[in-house]
């Protein structure tokens, strides 16, 4: 049952996987249209890696149907492997080989694809072409891993947490790369626990928690769905004066109040009303404001609203 002239790149129905006594995936349904970058967003342990490894053919599901590029792993494994590109969550490639040697090795497994040198240029590792993998920085290693995924000219790319552990500059470089791949029309399934990554790269995002999908939509739709547009975060009070947060709930424009360790979070859809109201209330209670920050609602806030927890456990 394909919608329109093209098959979906990936179709998952009622996927279940349990390890011993831990339920990793508990009934997941997913559709990734062709030519789209689709994100699986969730904290560690949400079941993202299990899901993507089942799609990659590395793990067998307990039950459910997984259709990748219109094919099934049980019957078409060899054909599928030729057409997929995979970046694992932590791969360490052989440290003693050079970048070029590594790519030539991976290229030899595929019937068709670009030359190793072309892929090196694509991920901008030309200067490091003859350097050993052991001497690359974290960001360069991830770009090499991405190159290994591209070397068979795949119809569908699976990227499992591609920027985890990288410094900000390396992350941005990798994002640029992925965006260029998107522009070239590749289908991508990406898992991440960084909300900025999901917001920036993905056309659709599925938020996962405890093996289930708890929300699905474009980043904009998801943020709009919680009805909150801005978050105000502040600290107030000091020695002696403690803030009473109860009255804040009734202030104009304020939708919800959450108290953290040192700070308070206010959710609002009307920033221009909420901030003045807050300042007035602080003044009434005679408590001094020590810090004030506001940001537009993000997918992180969507997650917090839905689950009460953060994407990254601090």
């Amino acid at each position: 049952m394909s919608a329109g002239p093209r098959h979906a790149a990936l179709r998952i129905r009622n996927l279940r996987k349990t390890y011993k006594d831990v339920v990793a995936v508990a009934g997941l349904d997913l559709d990734v249209p062709t030519g789209e970058c689709f994100g699986l967003l969730g904290p560690n342990g949400a079941g993202k890696t299990t899901t993507i490894e089942i799609c990659e053919g590395l793990t067998e599901p307990d039950s459910g149907d997984v259709e990748v590029l219109g094919l099934h792993w049980k019957s078409d494994a060899n054909r599928l492997r030729q057409r997929l590109g995979i970046q694992l969550q932590e791969t360490q490639l052989s440290e003693k080989l050079t970048v070029l040697e590594t790519l030539r090795l991976f290229r030899s497994f595929y019937h068709q694809g670009p030359r190793a040198e072309e892929v090196i240029a694509l991920v901008q590792l030309q200067e490091k072409q003859n350097s050993r993998v052991g001497g690359l920085s974290g960001g360069q290693k991830q770009r090499l891993a991405l190159a290994c995924a591209l070397v068979g000219r795949p119809a569908l790319l699976f990227l499992d947490e591609p920027t985890t552990g990288l410094d900000p500059q390396a992350r941005r470089q990798l994002w640029d790369l992925i965006e260029r791949l998107k522009l070239a029309g590749r289908s991508i399934l990406l898992t991440t626990h960084y909300m900025d990554e999901a917001e920036r790269l993905c056309e659709h995002v599925a938020i996962m928690d405890h093996g289930r999908m708890i929300a699905l939509g474009t980043p904009r739709e998801l943020i709009a769905s919680i009805g909150v547009e801005h978050i105000v975060e502040f600290s107030a009070g000091g020695a002696g004066r403690r803030l009473d947060t109860e009255p804040l709930r009734n202030l104009e424009g304020i939708l919800d109040v959450k108290s953290g360790n040192d700070s308070v979070l206010l959710q609002t859809a009307k920033l221009h009303l909420a901030v003045p109201a807050l300042l007035t209330e602080l003044d009434r209670q005679q408590v001094a404001l020590t810090e004030l920050r506001t940001h537009s609602a993000t997918l992180e806030d969507v997650f917090v609203t839905l689950t009460g927890r953060h994407l990254r456990d601090e």
Partner: protein
Amino acid sequence: MANHPLTQLTLVRFREFLREPEALFWTFVFPILLAAGLGLAFRNRPPEVLQVGAVTANLAQSLRTDNRLSVRKFTPTAGLQALRAGKIAMLAAPGTGGVIVYEYDDTNPEGRTARMLADQAVQRAAGRTDLVGSHDRILREPGSRYIDFLVPGLLGMSLMNSGIWGIAFTLVDSRRKKLLKRLVATPMPRHHYLLSFALSRLLVLVAEVGVLLGFSALVFQVPARGSWLGLTVLCVLSSLAFGAMGLLIGSRVQTVEAASGIMNLVTMPMWILSGVFFSAQRFPDALQPTIKALPLTAIIDALRGNMLQGASLMRLAPQLAILGGWMIVCFTAALKIFRWR
């Protein structure tokens, strides 16, 4: 051809080997150092003159007629002390009734030799003549020295070490790094991965055997009397057998520490029991069947047979069978339990 996965995988095995200085040392340099060191320490020396003691001047004089004995005169107590301290191999003293008493340690070959030479000297001095004439022809041929015995032993040990350690270590490390998992996600035919180990091993083998035997032939004139074809067959078969053992050891283990532990457990008994440095016959008879069944014993016996006695492969069939058996058993077991993740 160059882009065939098997070619690429074999190239990768080579590069990883050549770029690991430790591996190069253990494979090429260490056996040579052992051969040179032990060959020097245990080189054949001209027959030593034996130190003996005599309690009377008469005895001393008789004994001195044999120039293979160096005689000192002692008082009985001093002589006994010197014997206990190992300074003399034997003490001769007159006993009651005109007999000579020879005191020595009969588990010490020097003591036994000293006793025989001394008695012969004493008898001759007392007038005994030999009824049958004799004359000595000294034989000092390469092939019967310690170094000749040692080199095939070292070669066998080297084949075992590089066969087992090279494969098991790489496998376990690749599994730990999730490199195996990454490879299995590609279309790479899985048997190509394992085959690449065998191929690269065989190619390195040529250099490994060549270097050790070349060194031994050059420096010590260790002979290689058997057919080179036979030698090749032996080396290839043992490499495959030890490779299969390495494959089995590396087929499920997840950490390098566990792998090292198992490899040591497997190889160290063989270093001692299989006759690398000294003849395995020295162990009690009850152990001999077990010792003979060990793969290292089989290859060393076969190598000695080939190099020192020129034995044909037919004659070495039992050893070939033992090696072949280990190879098949280990390989089949490994395939059954191999884990890629």
